[in-house]
């Protein structure tokens, strides 16, 4: 916990009053009042008052509670000696168990669960792609969804207009997306930080507006349907269970390749650029070129995810590629931990699963996402698995 700055009036009665739970609750309830009326504001006041007071109490006793917990832990571990296997064997066992759970999912899981799992897989690839750009290289891209959209639409169009199949479209589409990544990056990378974020956001919006308005080519808001699912050895991959394994192959491929690139001189150069751009160029890294590679390599995965998405849904429309989608992918990366490959996998799974589990309170999930982002930044900005020293070793 950071120490509060010493304030001249910190002990004045006014300061104490404005920081009291009753005042905070009253203030927020008052702000809420016009939107939902007196009764709702009253309820909010009581809830907030209770919450803030409890939080204060908890904060006061935080030290004591921590001490109690650790002594309890000592007490338990002193009494009960469970023989834990060595950490290496343990992690191997854990990995084995997890892969069995994942690989056997179609045999025990409900269709609904498999469907979510397939979606998670697509988002894992997307989030890994964005992680290259934001997590490794430290470039904020707020229009990442544009590459996803270009990938999905190019497969949709190649397939429905020209009758080109999945396996022939895949390299074409992904190459097109990578190329568009280059095209955006060449001018955009002259810009720094926030400006880059805004330009990428603008790019995302322009792509969506074009998809939405170019009726003769993209069928506008109606979207494109009747996209062919992939075939393997003449067998159509259209059943959910089949698609699940199909996606897993691509997820593994993505993680495998990204890990290897990240653990090479290329990945090290990216992280160096994130840490200090001037110092990177002063040790001989061509920062412009490497930022460009990062953008294009990230876009590559978004394109792949787009193609998979189109093949899975057999339908694409501009609605799937809004700014909120970019934010969602960014949230996955941040929640998991910038620059952490396993973290980003976890982040993607959580953010796909969570809303599904919260179906009953679906209305509030965006509200929760918004406040969750703020709280994440305040209390755990490094995400679940990120942290100091997140860089890559093979």
């Amino acid at each position: 916990m950071k120490k509060a700055p010493i304030h001249r009036f910190a002990d004045s009665p006014i300061h104490r009053f404005t920081h009291s739970p009753i005042f905070i609750a009253l203030w927020l309830a008052l702000l809420f009042l016009p939107f939902k009326g007196l009764e709702a504001a009253g309820v909010l006041f009581i809830v907030l008052f209770a919450a803030v007071s409890l939080l204060r109490v908890f904060k006061n006793y935080a030290g004591k509670i921590k001490g109690l917990l650790s002594s309890l832990k000592k007490f338990i571990s002193g009494r009960i000696r469970i023989k834990l296997p060595e950490s290496k064997t343990r992690s191997i066992a854990l990995t084995l168990l997890m892969s069995v759970v994942v690989m056997a999912l179609p045999f025990y899981g409900h269709d609904y669960l498999i469907d979510i799992a397939v979606l998670s897989g697509i988002y894992i690839i997307l989030a890994q792609g964005l992680n290259i750009v934001v997590g490794f290289t430290g470039l904020l891209n707020l229009g990442f969804v544009a590459f996803y959209a270009i990938g999905a639409y190019s497969y949709a169009l190649l397939n429905t207009k020209l009758g080109i199949g999945f396996w022939a479209s895949l390299p074409l589409s992904v190459m097109l997306v990578t190329l568009s990544g280059f095209i955006l990056a060449i001018p955009a990378l002259r810009l720094k930080g926030d400006y880059l974020a805004i330009v990428t956001l603008g790019f995302g919006e322009i792509v969506r507006l074009v998809l939405n308005n170019w009726d003769s080519f993209t069928k506008g808001p109606n979207g494109i349907g009747g996209i062919e699912p992939p075939h393997i050895f003449g067998m159509q991959i259209s059943r959910l269970g089949q698609f699940y394994y199909f996606i897993i192959i691509f997820v593994l491929l993505a993680v495998f390749i990204i890990r290897r690139v990240a653990a090479s001189r290329i990945g090290r150069a990216w992280i160096a650029i994130r840490e200090d751009e001037i110092a990177s160029s002063s040790i001989g890294i061509n920062t412009t070129a490497y930022k460009l590679y990062s953008f294009a390599f990230g876009a590559f995965w978004a394109g792949l995810a787009g193609v998979l998405f189109a093949a899975k849904m057999q339908f694409v429309s501009p609605e799937s590629f809004t700014f909120m989608e970019s934010v969602l992918i960014l949230c996955m990366v941040i929640l998991g931990g910038l620059g952490s490959i396993p973290g980003v996998i976890l982040g993607a799974i959580i953010l796909v699963m969570l809303p599904e589990m919260l179906r009953e309170v679906q209305l509030y999930r965006m509200l929760a996402l918004g406040s969750g982002l703020v709280m994440l930044m305040i209390f755990r900005p490094q995400g679940l698995m990120g942290g100091k020293g997140v860089s890559f070793r093979s």
Partner: protein, 253 residues
């Protein structure tokens, strides 16, 4: 043979004349110091030499090659490395990774060989690691190779920056205040290190405030004041130069 030649180098920031028609030459294998009061334009000079700032006028040639308008990474590739006045390490990388990434411009594996882990890639990685350890040993940090760079003590961070500079395999190393903030013992060690670099055949230019260091190791000294070169010479010549004494101590003295 002169390794570096600076001719009429001028840099203006708006109306401010940071450096004005500075010229000097550096012999290969020598140690040169640039001294002068704060704001004399020393760091700006380094920035021009390494491509971080573009000079307004003048030319820099390195090994008979014009480098004035080259990009930063090309300058490094030709053999100029530097450290920074306020340390700029890759803080969240480990010590050894800092040195490994600095060999970037001397290596060439691409995406494909990284993905398939070709034998040339594996060999290159092995060499990078071995060399990194060698450089760390040179600056005395081999025991800390897996420490996060940002958590090293100040003096070690300065030395790591030097290891990083050496890792780019330079001919010329620019050191921006290498002993600033160090105690006498650390300063002594740093002087030893700089001498060792010279023995390895490197040419060194340093910006330094500590006169003991300057007078103790440099063969040649350039004095800047308000962006203008007011004197150049051997330590004993500089010590007795009245212009220099005036610039440092004011007119009355």
């Amino acid at each position: 043979m002169y390794l570096l030649e600076v001719r009429d180098l001028t840099k203006h920031f708006g109306g401010i004349r940071a450096i004005e028609e500075v010229r000097f030459r550096v012999k290969e294998g020598s140690i040169m110091s640039i001294i002068g009061p704060n704001g004399a334009g020393k760091t700006t000079l380094f920035n021009c030499l390494t491509g971080i700032t573009r000079p307004t006028k003048g030319a820099i040639s390195f090994f008979d090659r014009e480098i004035t308008r080259l990009g930063r990474d090309s300058i490094v590739k030709l053999g100029v490395a530097r450290t920074f006045q306020n340390i700029r390490l890759f803080k969240e990388m480990t010590v050894i990774e800092n040195v490994m990434v600095s060999q970037h411009c001397r290596t060439q594996s691409g995406f494909l060989s990284a993905i398939i882990r070709s034998s040339s890639f594996r060999n290159e990685e092995k060499t990078i690691r071995e060399k990194a350890l060698e450089y760390l040993e040179l600056v005395g940090l081999e025991a800390y190779s897996d420490t996060i760079a940002g958590s090293l003590p100040y003096g070690s961070q300065k030395r790591l920056e030097i290891a990083r500079a050496i890792a780019t395999e330079p001919r010329l190393i620019l050191l921006d205040e290498p002993t600033a903030g160090m105690n006498p013992q650390e300063t002594g060690e740093m002087m030893g290190l700089i001498k060792k670099l010279q023995e390895l055949g490197k040419t060194i230019i340093l910006i330094e405030h500590d006169m003991k260091v300057v007078m103790g190791i440099s063969e040649n000294i350039v004095v800047l004041d308000h962006g203008v070169k007011i004197a150049e010479g051997t330590p004993s010549e500089i010590k007795s130069n009245s212009m220099v004494i005036e610039a440092y101590l004011g007119k009355e003295h």
